[in-house]
């Protein structure tokens, strides 16, 4: 074996340790999962979805046009997805439309106003009116995409009718090139009707919340977790922990001191990151020309809401620190400590990506249950939950985080009172029994 091979063999053995290979594999799995998730969401946007059409005209002209356009876009599926309700020739009010939408679970509705056909077939052309209604759902990156589909259908109908008119009749006047007046757009947000705002505009305005909270929480948890685990690794390597544990001070005091100081540091870092990210996202969203003022449509947080956000962040940090101190107990040294952060990072990354890209509402029930079990999901969703009045979810989140952080602190104190902190996991009964079992097997 050459000197080069000898050196390379030793180096590769160090770099490609079991823990580093596992971490790489997990990152690959997470990215693959994200890719599947994103393509699933993208498929949802391009796949047909229910559309409510309320026809207040006295004929089916506009409905037929909508069906034709829908069939072109979604491969002849209008029979299944376009649901037509007769408006009996009179103007319908917003409450009626909302009731119909919520009763049947529709997120998009087009109202064809009375005299639609007569107006556009008159000479010169008078604009026929269609109104769009949306039910806003707080979702992830693709939230509000449905509104662009509904709008696209109306735009396509507009174009089709215009082409027909122009090719068949002359001297139609200026409205012939755009015979449909889309009138007002109505979106239901938190049970209130917001005029002239589409879900996609609200989603754009909410992007900062949807992105900032999960991202900040993930960054804080992994950063503080890494600091705590590394500190534990250092303490073990330098044996300062052994010294500390023989001081005349209770173990609970040591654990509490370490936890609280790290939690305070986490909150300070968190506040700093939040300010920085707010500026960053403000810059980003302003370049996207978002015209929606969230405060005007009631999507804003009060002082007490922010207090709840801070409480949940503190509890999440406390839970993460508890986990890290337990994981840190199993480290032998600083180097080993670096890989121990992985379980925490994964637990923070999974809800972050799901909330960012899919949103809570689009998850199946089992997905919601599994995601709820990850304690860091709750603080990532708290801003949206508070904005949309999901107080049960907020209460469940606080309760779960309280229980989880208490459990983590309890286990941490137990670990600090046990031999594991000194001997590591290698000397526990379970590991000794396993080693013996595998030794026998190999014989």
């Amino acid at each position: 074996m050459s000197d080069l091979t000898n050196v390379m063999k030793k180096e590769l053995r160090e770099y490609l340790s079991l823990s580093s290979v596992i971490s790489v594999v997990l990152v690959v799995v997470i990215f693959a999962f994200m890719g599947t998730m994103m393509s699933g969401e993208a498929d949802k946007i391009t796949s047909p979805s229910d559309l409510l059409v309320i026809n207040c005209d006295d004929n089916s002209f506009a409905v037929d046009e909508i069906r034709d356009v829908y069939d072109v876009i979604f491969d002849g599926t209008s029979g299944e997805y376009v649901h037509v309700v007769d408006g009996n020739g009179s103007v319908v009010d917003a409450e009626y439309v909302q009731r119909l939408m919520s009763e049947n679970g529709y997120t998009d509705a087009i109202v064809i106003c009375p005299d639609f056909r007569n107006n556009i077939c008159s000479t010169p052309v008078i604009k026929g009116q269609m109104m769009l209604y949306f039910q806003f759902e707080a979702t992830g990156l693709f939230g509000g995409a449905s509104s662009s589909i509904a709008q696209s259908i109306v735009s396509a109908v507009n174009e089709r009718i215009s082409q027909t008119l122009v090719s068949s009749v002359t001297d139609l006047g200026p409205n012939a090139s755009s015979p449909i007046d889309m009138g007002s757009t109505y979106t239901y947000v938190n049970g209130e009707v917001v005029e002239n705002v589409t879900p996609i505009e609200i989603s754009s305005a909410l992007m900062s919340q949807n992105f900032i909270m999960p991202l900040i929480i993930m960054v804080i948890l992994t950063m503080i977790g890494s600091i705590v685990i590394s500190s534990m690794g250092n303490e073990k390597e330098n044996k300062t922990l052994e010294t500390l544990l023989t001081m005349p001070v209770k173990r609970t005091t040591i654990v509490t001191g370490k936890l609280i100081s790290a939690a305070i540091a986490g909150l300070v870092f968190g506040a700093a990151y939040m300010v920085g990210m707010m500026f960053y996202m403000e810059g980003m969203t302003s370049t996207m020309m978002t015209s929606v003022d969230l405060a005007e449509i009631g999507l804003t947080l009060s002082v007490s809401d922010w207090a709840i956000v801070m409480v949940m962040m503190f509890l999440a940090i406390l839970s993460a620190l508890g986990m890290c101190m337990i994981l840190g107990a199993f480290t032998k040294n600083y180097k080993a400590a670096q890989t121990m952060i992985l379980p925490l990072a994964i637990m923070a990354m999974i809800p972050m990506f799901i909330i960012m890209f899919m949103g809570w509402e689009s998850l199946p029930s089992i997905g919601k249950i599994l995601l709820s079990l990850i304690p860091f999901t709750h603080p990532m969703m708290v801003v949206n939950n508070l904005m949309f009045g999901e107080m049960t979810m907020v209460a469940i989140g606080i309760g779960y985080l309280l229980a989880f952080s208490a459990l983590m602190v309890f286990i941490t104190v137990k670990v600090y009172r046990s031999d594991i902190l000194i001997t590591g996991i290698g000397q526990t009964r379970f590991v000794v029994a396993m080693k013996k079992f595998f030794a026998k097997k190999s014989e």
Binding site: N238, K239, E242, T243, T246, I422, T423, V432
Partner: protein, 245 residues
């Protein structure tokens, strides 16, 4: 003479593996007692059980009248423990480290008195204000011994205290240990350096394979085996035990 430490039939098990197999010995007040044996003999495990870091599987240990299992907080009030190859917090200066540790024992002027005493024991000169990660091994050991002795413990537990030090530094550390013992502190030290134990300890226990194989003064042991030094005593004692098994 009162006993500062009483170890009775102490076992330490990890599953089926028994690291310490029913050891018993006593350390009298004011003496320097050496626990000697090869690497892996069970010395550090025994010291960790005495200093409340590890739980005892069975048996009893009393330090200055306090039971380590049921009165561990009281035990920690009267002992100091210096682990083998211990370090200090790297981002602290020597003075700050001593300040931090003194905070566990006193506050205000009393705390400053403890720090001044420790600085005097460490005898590091102006380097006391340097970061500890710039210290040599000898300097670090002096700092840690000063930290251990600073609160005037009744019972000092020192694990391989001169391990890895050069001749001059090891000699200086042994002098410090003698001074500590002269001030009335009972010392239990472990070492695999038989010569060191011979020149430093009043009494010695030899441990091998988790069992105490011999206890007595260095002179008694040498006389019993007609040996020149403790190293020879240890080898003969191990052979004698193997022969009797």
């Amino acid at each position: 003479m009162n006993d500062a430490l009483v170890v009775k039939d102490v076992h330490k098990r990890y599953g089926d593996h028994e690291a310490v197999k029913g050891i018993s010995f006593t350390v009298h007040e004011g003496e320097i007692f050496g626990l000697i044996g090869p690497n892996g003999a069970g010395k550090t495990t025994t010291l960790r059980m005495i200093s409340t870091l590890l739980k005892i599987s069975s048996g009893t240990i009393e330090v200055c009248g306090y039971d380590v299992s049921s009165q561990s907080d009281d035990v920690r009030e009267v002992i100091c423990y210096l682990p083998e190859d211990a370090g200090a917090y790297k981002d602290m200066t020597g003075r700050r480290y001593l300040n931090f540790m003194a905070g566990f024992f006193a506050s205000g002027e009393k705390k400053q008195e403890l720090v001044r005493k420790a600085i005097s024991i460490a005898d590091l000169g102006p380097r006391i204000d340097s970061k500890v990660d710039t210290y040599s091994k000898g300097m670090m050991r002096r700092l840690l011994i000063a930290r251990a002795i600073m609160p005037s413990p009744k019972f000092a537990i020192l694990d391989e205290v001169t391990s890895g030090l050069d001749v001059v530094n090891a000699h200086e550390i042994r002098d410090i240990i003698r001074d500590i013992a002269d001030s009335g502190v009972t010392i239990l030290l472990s070492s695999h350096n038989m010569h060191e134990v011979e020149v430093l300890c009043d009494r010695v226990a030899m441990i091998d394979g988790g069992e105490i194989i011999l206890t007595g003064t260095p002179d008694e042991m040498k006389a019993r085996y007609g040996a020149r030094d403790l190293e020879e005593v240890f080898i003969r004692a191990v052979k004698e035990r193997e022969g009797s098994q």
